[in-house]
């Protein structure tokens, strides 16, 4: 690429490459399929493969695990359970001193659907999965707690009984005098938010290949861990080894991270143990079902937000109560999402008084973890919905309310009440630019026209502050001041980069950012090329990381948008060291002082006389071939490593104020949406997003980050949710159930930029990759609230939810008999997977005959569909091996059936459950036999809960499948006791179609 002319910049330095739209160096490799990912990395010959057995229950005691059959399968090398893991490892350390031990496999009980219970190590993955199905686990189900509010109740089932509560941490913070402000307010505006569980799902799941080297006691692990390296000691401590004995290597390319890849660490430990136990390398590749079920989720959060306001729209104080749901275990670095943005809880607003209550809640759901945005989507959903409500309740324009409350221009760096030091910005100008260049006036006109035409149209706004580069000490805000004093101050943020130059002047760079598609190599190339007068394409960046060979820091990794204010900065520092060295060497040859040496076009020259030059490669050669020629005292060779930690990142102070991040950008969004009156579907008419991320290092990459986070923001707003049944069954196990937006669903936003360089970081750049994760969901929600004039808007805004918000009542059918049987009225609410139903059938036999049949084990064995064997286990209690199926879906189960509440020959309760590799069910039904002359009417109703794989991947068919199975049972019962009445397959209707008609389940 020809070197562009230099451009002036804010700091007066010449800019040849930084800030330019340099095309991504990574793209040719990735787009032509030449990228190699964790699963592509070579493993040693003889590597074994692991598959994991996971809990179908949200909460249960593990009574017994029988692995004999699995072990006996040919090709199986080992089966490990919690017992072995407890022998070989210590529980993971957690942030709180609470008895919430967790190992890499469940030990005595399971606490969420998908929790790892056993691991099979076999010659290949197919055999391993076959053997997983062979393992028999006996569970004793416990009541599960799913809803975070219910979890806080005094009588709630306890996720960790030793803690004595499902709220292991509650902290109260007060800044300024919020009580007084609320007392003096003209009005208090309140809103309660219920933010859902979701995650940004990477294309590539977790991959771990662990190879234990017994000679030195070293675990050599290749995995797609994304950092932060704070978790490296968590793993080595669990394995009872030193950090140097746990070598973590990460590949150069990644199929996406979004924070999620941090949660690989329990599996790293598990596979290390598996390798040590088997004496062979062990590889495990997470599949999509495992990922969605058990990898991670951003915490769902209840927020009770309140604003003290004056009648003119001025907010004088905020109050937030946050109840953050961490699922079954608190895995490091949790509860990050509750504290990572603590310092900036007041957002873009100038109110100085604030009260915060943070409660951390445990439930029987997948543990929460790092997900892009990291607490921000939740916080801003609360704050910006609240600001919209302030406008609505005061009858003001929402944008006017935002503007009235912004941190004033010219007041930066600005200290926010909870401690954030907002480095730079001009929010008023950003909004004015967005309003003008984004065409807000035109959008308002479109809204008015649409409304005049009877259409449902709304406009939403969101103003957010985008933090970047976390203060690694933020989590210590969770412990009271006294405890913090004892533990010592924690801040810290060390970054490392190395620039190497070989004897022909070839330049390579290594750095600590563990990129996952962001284009870090491109930007590092720009930075180094600029310093050394080279072309970015001359620079090779190796982004692999190896804890045994590279400089180690707790901050290493890809998270909290740390790259542009941390890794990029330190790479520039390393490049400057190389530059200084080369300038010094060249000054001897060029005969000018080192500070008059300039770089460009692959040459080193005298600044005032470019003809006096020498090739960059020659100087590099001197450093390697002729160390004796170097200036006195200069170290030979050219390889410079720099380290950097921003001084502004300080531990929390005694007033619980903390500067939780280094830089703070600004995002202002507005959008227009239209709702289809018939279907409730939302169409995004226009979306404008304005970013001030300080200095932009590469506008193509900056916009790419915005598109990415915007796309996920659309997903959060409209589609994505990890759904759980009331019993804790997980319902979103496939990409047909957990819906990610595709190109068809994501409109192209209008992207606008302004640049207020950060004075706190040498490049002036801030983060840009997380803003829309925080602004877009609430911006769309505000537009929907505006369109429908409603207060409570719950994400994701699915068409069914939006339609329900429209508050229409359903007209009954003209003939009541046309309504389906009572089961429809009693139907479960979405999310609850308790299936209920009822039916009736007339059978030409007396109640006594039917009764005898039901109580006769031999008859029961014939009546239970697909029954292979039935053993009586007690009075009217049976255990049966059954094969059940609907269409091509079939599974083998162990059924337990009991007949209780016997009222011979009138009524009985049939209860029990099924356990099998497809999942687990429990249910009960009351059967009543009502004599009607020569015949008997059998009335029944049932409640069935389904958990495990069937619930996770078959959600939309469960109701129908249950009906089919009940139909099968009754068909067999009729065939048994009244063969002449049993429907037979015919050309017009199949047996069960007719049966369903009999049962009143089908017209």
């Amino acid at each position: 690429m020809a070197q562009p002319p230099s451009q002036p910049s804010h700091d007066g330095l010449e800019r040849r490459w930084l800030g330019r739209p340099v095309e991504r160096i990574e793209d040719a490799t990735l787009l032509t399929g030449h990228g190699y990912f964790a699963d592509d990395m070579p493993t040693r010959a003889g590597t074994l493969h692991a598959a994991i057995l996971r809990s179908p229950h949200a909460h249960a005691e593990i009574v017994a695990i029988d692995t004999a059959k699995a072990m006996a399968r040919s090709g199986v090398v080992a089966v490990l359970t919690g017992a072995e893991i407890k022998q070989d490892s210590d529980p993971f350390i957690i942030v709180l001193r609470q008895p919430m031990d967790q190992w890499s496999l469940a030990t005595d009980r399971v606490r969420f659907v998908g929790e790892a219970v056993a691991v099979v190590i076999a010659e290949d993955r197919y055999i391993a999965e076959d053997a997983v199905d062979d393992i028999e686990v006996e569970y004793r189900k416990l009541p599960a707690v799913i809803d975070p509010m219910s979890a806080t109740a005094a009588d709630a089932p306890l996720v960790h009984p030793a803690v004595g509560s499902n709220v292991p941490s509650e902290r109260h913070f007060s800044y300024g005098d919020p009580e007084r402000r609320f007392a003096e307010a003209d009005r208090v505006v309140e809103i309660t938010i219920d933010y859902p569980r979701n995650s940004q799902t990477p294309l590539e799941g977790f991959v771990v290949a662990a190879d234990y080297q017994p000679g030195e006691g070293v675990y050599d692990v290749m995995c797609n861990f994304q950092g932060p390296f704070t978790v490296h000691p968590v793993m080595s401590k669990a394995l009872r080894c030193s950090g140097a004995q746990l070598r973590i290597r990460t590949p150069a390319y990644s199929g996406g991270g979004f924070g999620v890849k941090q949660a690989i660490f329990p599996y790293v430990v598990l596979m290390c143990i598996a390798s040590r136990r088997t004496g062979r390398p062990v590889k495990w590749v997470e599949d999509r079902f495992e990922h969605l079920t058990a990898a991670i989720a951003a915490p769902n959060r209840i927020i009770r937000a309140a604003a003290a306001v004056k009648n003119d729209g001025l907010v004088t104080a905020f109050r937030f109560e946050q109840i953050d749901d961490y699922g079954a275990y608190l895995r490091p670095p949790m509860p990050g999402p509750l504290y990572r943005q603590h310092g900036i809880m007041s957002g873009a607003y100038a109110a100085k008084d604030m009260q915060i209550v943070n409660k951390l809640v445990m439930t029987n759901k997948t543990p929460s973890g790092m997900v892009r945005g990291f607490g921000g989507p939740q916080i801003y959903y609360g704050l910006e919905r609240l600001m919209q409500r302030v406008a609505v309740e005061l009858g003001l324009d929402p944008l006017d309310v935002i503007r009235k409350n912004l941190v004033p221009a010219g007041s930066f760096p600005y200290r926010a009440p909870a401690g954030a030091l907002i480095d730079s910005g001009d929010y008023q100008t950003a909004i004015a630019m967005a309003e003008r260049d984004g065409g807000l006036a035109d959008l308002r006109r479109r809204r008015d026209e649409a409304r005049a035409a009877g259409r449902i149209y709304g406009i939403g706004f969101a103003a957010i502050v985008e933090p970047a580069q976390s203060n690694m000490g933020y989590l210590s805000t969770i412990v009271p001041v006294e405890e913090r004093r004892k533990a010592g101050p924690k801040g810290g943020n060390v970054a490392y980069a190395t620039v190497n130059v070989d004897c022909l002047g070839a330049v390579s760079v290594t750095a600590d950012s563990l990129p996952q598609g962001q284009g870090h190599a491109t930007i590092l190339s720009q930075i180094v090329a600029e310093q050394l007068g080279l072309d970015p394409h001359d620079i090779r960046c190796n982004m692999e990381r190896d804890t045994q060979r590279d400089p180690w820091s707790i901050a290493t990794g890809n998270y909290s948008s740390r790259f542009s204010s941390s890794t990029a900065v330190v790479a520039q520092m390393a490049a400057k060291k190389v530059r200084a060295k080369i300038a010094q060497i060249a000054s001897q040859t060029l005969n000018v002082p080192a500070d008059e040496v300039a770089f460009g076009d692959g040459k080193v020259f005298a600044k005032n006389n470019p003809d006096n030059n020498i090739r960059f490669s020659r100087i590099a050669g001197t450093a390697h071939w002729s160390p004796s020629e170097l200036p006195t005292g200069m170290a030979p060779g050219i390889s410079e490593t720099a380290s950097y930690s921003a001084p502004e990142i300080e531990p929390p102070n005694d007033a619980d104020q903390i500067n939780t991040s280094l830089t703070y950008g600004f995002v202002f969004d507005f959008c227009g949406i239209e709702i289809d009156r018939d279907t409730g579907a939302i169409r995004i008419d226009k979306y404008v997003t304005m970013h001030d991320a300080g200095r932009i290092l590469n506008p193509l990459i900056a916009d790419g980050q915005i598109y990415g986070s915007f796309g996920w923001g659309i997903g959060c707003a409209l589609l994505e949710e990890f759904a759980y049944g009331a019993d804790g069954s997980f319902l979103s196990g496939t990409f047909a159930d957990y819906l990610c937006p595709t190109a068809c669903e994501v409109p192209r936003p209008v992207i606008l930029h302004m640049e207020s360089p950060s004075p706190l970081t040498p490049l002036g750049a801030k983060g840009i990759g997380e803003g829309n994760c925080m602004s877009t969901p609430v911006c769309i929600a505000n537009a929907v609230a505006d369109a429908l004039g409603v207060k409570d808007v719950k994400l994701p805004l699915t068409p069914a939810r939006v339609k329900a918000l429209m508050g229409e009542t359903e007209k009954p059918p003209r003939v009541a008999a046309k309504a389906p049987p009572a089961r429809a009225a009693a139907a479960a609410t979405p999310g609850g997977k308790a299936l209920t139903g009822s039916g009736a059938q007339t059978v030409p036999a007396s109640p006594e005959v039917i009764w005898r049949a039901l109580l006769d084990p031999k008859v029961l064995a014939r009546v239970i569909p697909g029954c292979h064997a039935l053993d009586q286990t007690g009075p009217n209690e049976y255990r049966a091996e059954v094969s059940l199926g609907v269409g091509i879906v079939k599974g083998r189960f162990t059924a337990r059936v009991a007949l209780t509440d016997l009222d011979p020959p009138r009524a009985a309760t049939l209860s029990g459950g099924l356990e099998g590799s497809l999942g687990s069910t429990t249910g009960s039904g009351r059967v009543r036999l009502v004599p009607q002359g020569a015949v008997t009417q059998i009335d029944y109703d049932y409640v069935v809960e389904i958990s495990g794989k069937a619930a996770a991947v078959g959600g939309r068919m469960l109701d129908g499948a249950t009906k089919v199975l009940i139909g099968q049972f009754f068909q067999r019962l009729f065939a048994e006791i009244a063969p002449e009445a049993a429907p037979r397959p015919g050309p017009a209707r199949t047996w069960w179609q007719r049966l369903l008609k009999f049962l009143g389940l089908q017209s």
Binding site: D133, T679, D737, K803, E810, K818, P820, G955, R956, D959
Partner: protein, 275 residues
């Protein structure tokens, strides 16, 4: 997400396939596009001792116009049908519905007959077959029979196919002179299983509406000479008869609402296209 062991058979012709099916019985599955079967096998929801792959049997890959019908062979992909130049003229309903069937990638492998044989209650092709009153051609080593859609489609993932039979072709009636057709569906994303799909045919005073995704199979109603003012009531009654089920994407009530609203829209559009 690996299937249990199975035998893979690639017969040289349909007769060989039928013999293999007769020999192995219920544990054998016909593999055509595999877009539903293989994911279900990988999840171990479905198991097969043997897969009999008919996807490369060239004589089964055809689209043929015969006496008022379009016959589509078992190896014909959805993409091939969508690309058939006469599709819009011959069966406008299919032309409107096919773009909603999965995605570009899945249509390139998924077959028309496979989708109908799989009988997912939310699938578009079974809905079109039911609404147009098409036919299914089943063949076994013992012979061939042709079933009307209403007899073939028996419920959720269930059909009248016997274990030794292969769906060798489906037949869609050619467009009727003067009739108007419309297809609409509500899915959260393009290509998702429909929450509710509707197919309407309006011909003179007769209105037919097929609904998918609400009951356990596509269900069709026909009204003749319905006074305009009664359409909403008729649709409401139909919606209640279908009932609908709850899942975490939509409630039964929402599905019924779509029957009413989308049903009306589709009927109005079909009426516009009729003459």
């Amino acid at each position: 997400m690996k299937p249990k062991p199975f035998t893979y058979l690639r017969p040289a012709d349909i007769n060989e396939a039928l013999q293999a099916l007769a020999r192995i019985g219920e544990d054998a599955r016909i593999l055509a596009g595999g877009q539903s079967l293989l994911p279900m096998m990988n999840f171990r929801l479905a198991q097969a001792r043997a897969l009999i792959d008919i996807s490369r049997l060239a004589p089964l890959a055809y689209i043929r116009k015969t006496a008022g019908e379009i016959e589509i062979g078992a190896a014909t992909t959805q993409a091939q049908l969508l690309a058939w130049p006469q599709l819009g003229d011959a069966t406008p309903l299919l032309s409107a519905a096919l773009p909603h069937v999965g995605h570009f990638q899945t249509r390139s492998r998924g077959t028309v007959c496979g989708s109908i044989a799989h009988s997912d209650p939310a699938s578009e092709l079974p809905l079109c077959l039911a609404t147009l009153e098409g036919k299914v051609v089943l063949r076994s080593s013992k012979g061939e029979r042709v079933l009307p859609a209403a007899e073939f489609q028996t419920g959720m993932l269930a059909t009248a196919r016997r274990p030794d039979e292969v769906v060798v072709a489906v037949r869609f009636p050619e467009r009727k002179q003067g009739a108007g057709y419309a297809f609409m569906e509500m899915a959260q994303r393009h290509g998702d299983f429909a929450i509710c799909a509707v197919a309407a045919v309006v011909s003179g005073k007769t209105t037919r509406l097929g609904v998918g995704g609400v009951a356990d199979k596509p269900t069709v109603r026909e009204w003749s000479g319905l006074p305009n003012g009664e359409l909403d009531d008729a649709l409401n009654d139909f919606a209640w008869e279908l009932g609908g089920t709850d899942d975490h994407h939509a409630t039964a009530a929402y599905r019924r609402e779509l029957v009413r609203r989308l049903g009306r829209r589709a009927i109005e559009e079909a009426a516009k296209c009729s003459s």
